[in-house]
């Protein structure tokens, strides 16, 4: 690099700094920081639909999520996972989720004759309209963006883990790499570009439907119109925005 070039890059660098600093001071912490350029969060209101009947427990969504969002591969960290419910003719209900269901599921340990019903339930952050995790965060590192997505700023999180305690769904974990709490953000970097979340994109049976809650027409609006909808733990009044069709009462 010549002396001139160095001077030029240095000048450019300082110029950029001068542009960035006041801009950063003016723009408050918001979803904008995580969104694609030109994206207008006020025009969206996201949610997800999950059809329990359609899930085959293949685990592709879990794998795709881990790759897309650099979630550590160890079996203690999941932005999304799949649970298998086995309801026997007699006795206790069995629930399992080996490695979050990412590699599919082993054959059911029960004799098929003993099984009344069995099904898979994909789980993820419910992006609650009244999120307890956001309420308890002492520094506002987690917040609801204007498009309804519950976001997490790993660069602001202090790691007190109160949000993990407050989430009734076990949707949050401590990312050992960033040392900040982590959770599903509907693949915010993708949806703000008009793409689908990775889990929805790869689902071979379209068990996951992504869309808007208020704008019509869109796949989620149709999903909510044609199905009987339930949410998880409704008694806690968190108002989840992940809607389940054909959900069994045993699912917690």
């Amino acid at each position: 690099m010549t002396k001139n070039q160095t001077a030029q890059t240095r000048r450019e660098f300082l110029k950029r700094c001068l542009q960035i600093v006041p801009a950063a001071a003016l723009v408050p912490l918001s979803a904008q920081a995580f969104a694609a350029e030109g994206y207008d969060p006020t025009q969206h209101d996201y949610g997800m639909g999950i059809d329990v009947h359609k899930c085959i427990g293949c685990g592709l969504c879990v794998q795709a999520c881990k790759i897309e969002n650099q979630v550590p591969q160890q079996p203690f960290y999941f932005r999304t996972w799949i649970e298998r419910y086995t309801i026997p003719v007699e006795g206790e209900i069995l629930v399992d989720s080996p490695n979050g269901g990412s590699q599919g599921f082993p054959p059911n340990p029960l004799d098929p004759k003993e099984v009344m019903r069995t099904y898979f339930v994909p789980k993820l952050c419910n992006h609650c309209a009244k999120p307890p995790c956001v309420q308890v965060c002492p520094v506002g590192a987690t917040f609801v963006s204007r498009d309804g997505v519950v976001l997490m700023d790993p660069d602001y999180c202090i790691g007190c883990r109160y949000c993990i305690q407050a989430c009734p769904y076990g949707a949050r974990f401590m990312n050992p790499v960033t040392r900040a709490t982590d959770k599903c953000n509907f693949c915010y970097h993708r949806i703000t570009k008009g793409l689908l979340p990775a889990c929805v994109e790869v689902c071979p049976t379209q068990a996951r439907i992504f869309g808007e809650l208020t704008q019509r027409p869109n796949p989620l609006a149709r999903f909510r119109r044609v199905n009987k909808i339930q949410v998880l733990k409704p008694a806690l009044n968190t108002e989840p925005k992940v809607f389940y069709a054909n959900l069994d009462g045993e699912v917690r």
Partner: protein, 400 residues
């Protein structure tokens, strides 16, 4: 990180039933157990001090200053376990700079500062002002300089100004009582307001925390008073000990009744979570709850304190009972904190399984750090006592 994964793998193998996969890691560990324990001691010691000041319980006067210093020593240490437990301790200051006002935890900084600055420091200063001025005159060398600084430039020891000190001191104590209630009631609220967790979520939680705080504070000051008298070769003031013993008993009865009420209510209502919670109490928490908290930490001290109150007994015997009861109470209160904090994380929020918690020995969140943080207040108290002797015999010498 490899060590963490090895620990989590071990935990994964010891899970019973089904837990959400993200629940394998238990997040609030032994440091968060000692946080409410220490804060409770602060609130309890202060409320004991206020007995003499506001409620005119003259018998406990020998422990008045000692209670204040104890509260202060523990209060200095109270935020350290919280800070040490953060995964990003360097960002801890955000709680003060950009607090999220809806968060109970964000309020900690303000409640803490209020209590430290507006209540404890002021009360201690006004109570000690006269003595500090005397010491700044009688001592020499470095100590003289320290007392000069501590006197904050005041030198008036006229009867009028001392009467004013007393008045202000009393006023601060009156403010201090609700503040102490706020400090520890608020710690209970941090747990009691988590609706996702049926083991924590209870309106009684702040009140139970408060009374257990008072119990632990009285017992701790009683222990420190007896041990320091032993070390100084002084006699224990028996009416004071008897009074402390009585208050300890009354507070324990209230505390125990509240906890029993909470327990019975849960059992009777038998909500969705009752099955997993009773499974937890019968297995993982049996030693720490049934044995340590209820039998060793509550029933035995209550019975023995009631016994010495009802039957006339020798001083020596009473002293032994008070001493042992106070130690058992500390074990019991520590177990309460453990059962709340750790117990609340041992069961899955799917209510279908239990996980395990193994205390690490080393590391920032390990057992040694916890022990260090529990010893530290006593070191601070030792220095404080050297600097600001709380003994009434010493005070008498100064005044004479």
């Amino acid at each position: 990180m490899e060590k963490l994964f090895a620990l989590l793998n071990l935990a994964l193998q010891n899970i019973t039933g089904y837990i959400y996969p993200n629940e394998v890691e238990l997040h609030w560990n032994i440091l968060i157990v000692i946080y409410p324990y220490i804060t409770g001691l602060v609130a309890g010691a202060f409320i004991l001090a206020s007995l003499e000041r506001v409620f005119n319980v003259k018998e406990v006067q020998p422990t008045y200053r000692l209670s204040l210093l104890t509260a202060f020593a523990f209060l200095i240490v109270a935020p350290l376990p919280l800070q040490a437990h953060l995964t990003r301790p360097e960002r801890g200051i955000h709680i003060f700079l950009t607090p999220h006002l809806q968060s109970a935890m964000a309020m900690f900084g303000f409640v803490y500062l209020w209590y430290l600055m507006a209540v404890l420091l002021l009360e201690i200063w006004f109570d000690y002002r006269e003595s500090i001025i005397h010491w700044s005159r009688s001592e020499t060398g470095v100590k003289k300089i320290i007392y000069k600084i501590l006197s904050l430039g005041t030198s008036d020891v006229s009867d009028k100004s001392i009467a004013l000190d007393r008045k202000i001191g009393k006023f601060i104590t009156v403010i201090g009582i609700p503040s102490a209630f706020l400090l520890h009631g608020y710690v209970g609220f941090i747990f009691g307001s988590v609706k996702a967790n049926p083991w924590w979520s209870s309106v009684l939680m702040p009140i139970v925390f408060l009374f257990s705080a008072i119990v632990s504070g009285i017992a701790m000051v009683l222990l420190i008073y007896m041990v320091s008298n032993f070390l100084r070769g002084r006699k224990n003031d028996m009416p004071c000990l008897d009074k402390l013993g009585s208050y300890l008993l009354y507070m324990m009865l209230i505390d125990f009744s509240l906890e029993a009420l909470d327990f019975i209510q849960r059992l009777y209502e038998a909500e969705e979570s009752i099955k997993i919670l009773s499974q937890m109490v019968r297995s993982k928490l049996f030693i720490s709850l049934v044995v340590a908290q209820v039998i060793i930490g509550t029933v035995i001290p209550i019975l023995s304190l009631a016994l010495v109150k009802m039957i006339r007994s020798a001083e020596k015997f009473r002293r032994a009972v008070y001493f042992i009861a106070a130690i058992l109470v500390q074990i019991g209160i520590f177990s309460i904190r453990w059962n709340v904090v750790i117990g609340g994380q041992l069961f899955s929020k799917s209510f279908r399984g239990l996980t395990v918690y193994k205390v690490e020995l080393f590391g920032i969140e390990g057992l040694l750090t916890a022990i260090g943080l529990l010893v530290l207040p006593f070191v601070i108290l030792f220095i404080l006592v050297k600097l600001l002797p709380p003994w009434s015999d010493r005070k008498a010498v100064v005044n004479s």
